[in-house]
């Protein structure tokens, strides 16, 4: 199979744009982290924490996260199906529509057009754009799979298809609203119902956008990078079906102790704990695939990103279920512990896998050898240090805050006022901001390395040929 048969143009474009949106997400993240320690850095009406924070989260999830999904899936689907993309024209349309949607989201959020629903803040006209976008993407991927020239569908394709269906259902149901004007709508659901629908969406957006797709990438790029196949096909089957079955029950663990009916909370708690099994099914499958290959952790920077990425996934899927238990949730919920948890998933798991995927793709879609492996290693350590500083500081802060919120005097009164607990957070918020800055430095090294690769890199023709000779 000649490389020219595949459509790599579109993969290149998605890589470039997703990195740009990733840079925006981290940059805005650093800005809002500084606003938390210095309120004077809020510049109303547009540049306040309340308006910028959704731009940070949505640029991260939809610009960077979904952008990388588009880049990698459009590559993987062609390779695994041994056939070019069903419609390159549709993929091109999708690219520009994707960028328009991201820009429109950022502008409208700055202007204060928001539904307030976390990770679904964009108002209804943008929901319509997202639906068009997702349909275009879904059809292209599914049609490419339908006309594939390889009988078996590899693991990555299962996760892709589940994500395509899952996100479609979640997004449509949670977007239901009655418009008042072009920029304002009211949710179709009220109060407790709205909360329950929203966190069914919210938690499964994590499942379908930030778990299934990175797993699809991991299952493809790990064997490609190490040159040895995945340890157990059977384990991947069990992990896949149990993961997509169990995830949907767990949304209400975001709503423990709220007025949502107790039985929903209890189901969410139970299924959250059960989810450890399929999550760790994939973690073990990754680790055991490294049997006899652990030396590659030292020699192959791609493997380092992938294995530390899946390790963060393993930690994330142990900590998550722990937080979903009522007693622990009572203590830790609403504190700074929670953003620390989320950022271990996004900065650690999802982004590590995304960086590895992009590093793998660049030589293949640009035909250039990576400019500098030492710089890739430097990025790895900056990313890792930045993320650990970020999360560990806020875990400590969260426990401190939770302890102070619940501390009581012998006469049954509270020991601390709210402000006494808040001022204790400042030092930790500073450390978090520094963690964010180190992470940002890692992203800049990454971008520099890639720009130099594309501009000055040596031709990678031989490199690609050897890689294709492998599994």
């Amino acid at each position: 199979m000649k490389a020219t048969a595949y459509n790599y143009d579109i993969v290149r474009s998605y890589i470039n744009w997703s990195i740009l949106w990733g840079l925006v997400a981290v940059l805005v993240g650093v800005i809002v982290s500084l606003q938390m320690v210095e309120p004077g850095l809020n510049f109303p009406p547009y540049l306040t924490f309340g308006r910028l924070r959704p731009i940070h989260t949505n640029a991260g999830i939809y610009g960077w996260g979904v952008g990388v999904i588009f880049a990698t899936f459009l590559y993987i689907v062609q390779r695994l199906c041994k056939t070019p993309l069903w419609s390159p024209g549709l993929a091109r349309f999708q690219l520009w529509f994707f960028n328009s949607t991201i820009i429109a989201s950022a502008v409208t959020l700055l202007l204060g057009y928001t539904t307030s629903k976390e990770y679904h803040e964009m108002e209804w006209p943008i929901d319509v754009m997202v639906v068009i976008l997702w349909v275009a993407f879904g059809i292209n991927v599914i049609m490419t799979i339908v006309k594939r020239r390889e009988e078996h569908m590899y693991i990555s394709l299962w996760y892709m298809m589940a994500a395509i269906v899952g996100i479609a259902i979640l997004y449509l149901v949670n977007a239901a609203a009655v418009p008042v004007s072009l920029f304002k709508s009211y949710s179709a659901y009220a109060g407790t119902n709205d909360a329950n629908v929203h966190w069914w969406f919210g938690h499964n957006a994590v499942a379908m956008a930030l778990t299934a797709p990175p797993l699809a990438m991991f299952y493809y790029f790990l064997p490609k990078s190490t040159g040895v196949p995945i340890y157990s096909h059977r384990l991947s089957i069990i992990a896949f079906w149990s993961l997509i079955f169990m995830y949907l029950w767990t949304g209400a663990h975001h709503l423990l102790w709220t007025p949502v009916p107790d039985w929903i909370q209890t189901l969410a708690m139970a299924f959250s704990v059960m989810l450890i099994a399929p999550s760790w099914g994939s973690v073990f499958n990754g680790y055991l695939s490294m049997n006899g290959q652990w030396h590659q952790m030292r020699e192959n920077y791609l493997v380092k990103f992938l294995i530390i990425g899946i390790t963060f996934y393993g930690l994330q899927t142990l900590q998550g279920p722990m937080q979903a238990i009522r007693t622990f949730s009572a203590f830790i919920h609403y504190t700074d512990w929670i953003p620390a948890h989320i950022h271990m998933g996004t900065m650690g798991w999802v982004s590590m896998i995304s960086f590895a995927s992009i590093y793998y793709l660049i030589p293949r879609v640009y035909g250039k050898k990576l400019f500098s492996v030492p710089l890739a290693n430097l990025q790895f350590w900056l990313i890792l240090t930045g993320q650990l500083l970020w999360s560990i500081s806020l875990w400590v802060a969260g426990v401190l805050q939770a302890g102070m919120w619940t501390a009581m005097n012998p006469d049954g009164s509270l020991t601390y006022t709210f402000m006494e607990t808040m001022v204790e957070m400042y030092p930790y918020w500073w450390i978090r901001a520094i963690g964010g800055l180190i992470y940002l430095a890692g992203i800049i090294v990454f971008i520099y390395n890639l720009v130099m690769t594309v501009r000055n890199g040596e031709s990678a023709a031989t490199n690609v040929a050897t890689a294709e000779g492998r599994a």
């Binding site: 809020n42 009655v178 009220a190 407790t192 997509i244 079955f245 009916p261």
Partner: protein, 292 residues
Amino acid sequence: MWEKNPILLLILATVAILVGTIITMVLPFAWVNTEGDRIESVTPYTALQQEGRDVYIREGCNNCHTQTVRPLVAEVLRYGDYSKSGEFVYDRPFLWGSKRTGPDLARLGGKYPDAWHYKHMESPRTMVPKTNMPAYGWLASNELDPQMIKRKMEVLGFPYSNAEIKGLAGKNEMDAIVAYLQKLGSDIPWREATATTIVGELKNPYSGVSHAEMEPWEDLYEKNCAACHGEHMEGIIGPELVGEGFEEGELFEIIFNGIPDGGMPSFSSLGADKVWKLVNFLKYYNKGEDHQ
């Protein structure tokens, strides 16, 4: 089989996704927001309150403030009665939030007088030193659009009168958000229900305390009282404090339970000991001293 048939895989994946979805997301509609949840005294938002709610949403207040009190001891002590499902039936969207960078606001309504909110929004640090809340004084320069608000009330199906809509002219977004904050959690008479009744004789444990002993208690005054009553008890939003006018027991009751109709919040969450310290500080600290 499914590994070779994408359509079959798509169907099976959809079924797998829908089982949990139907049970935990669709089925609850049969229970939630039905008659069983209804609380008679909960009313829809007025036009001004609803607009204030929309300003709250637009500014992303929910990124730092939650609106649900959980049925946990420390939480009920800090914020007030725990939240009930029936209190949220008019909330589109829900605003429960997920992070308390600032305090929970579910029971904020009626805690402070309007004047406190205006000042706090204008300049949060004058009311709450060291807070990281951004200033929102600029809301006062945005006038309301009565016709748009009328449209919103129609879409929501909330009752309104033409006089009410007319009355919005000349009001601004600050008026609206303060009206909304004052409505929060005040539909049910929870303050009356949870008010502490003080039984037995109130005995001042610090009777005859010296001026020097009281000096560290000034910090308590500055943190909890000075924002409204002034750094030197001269009165700002709250009145000038002339402690001599009250008996020790009376002062204790006022601070501990507040004056719900007079804008004085309850400080029972400080605990009896700190309240007694404040009683002594207010009544005796400045007596015969040229402290001010």
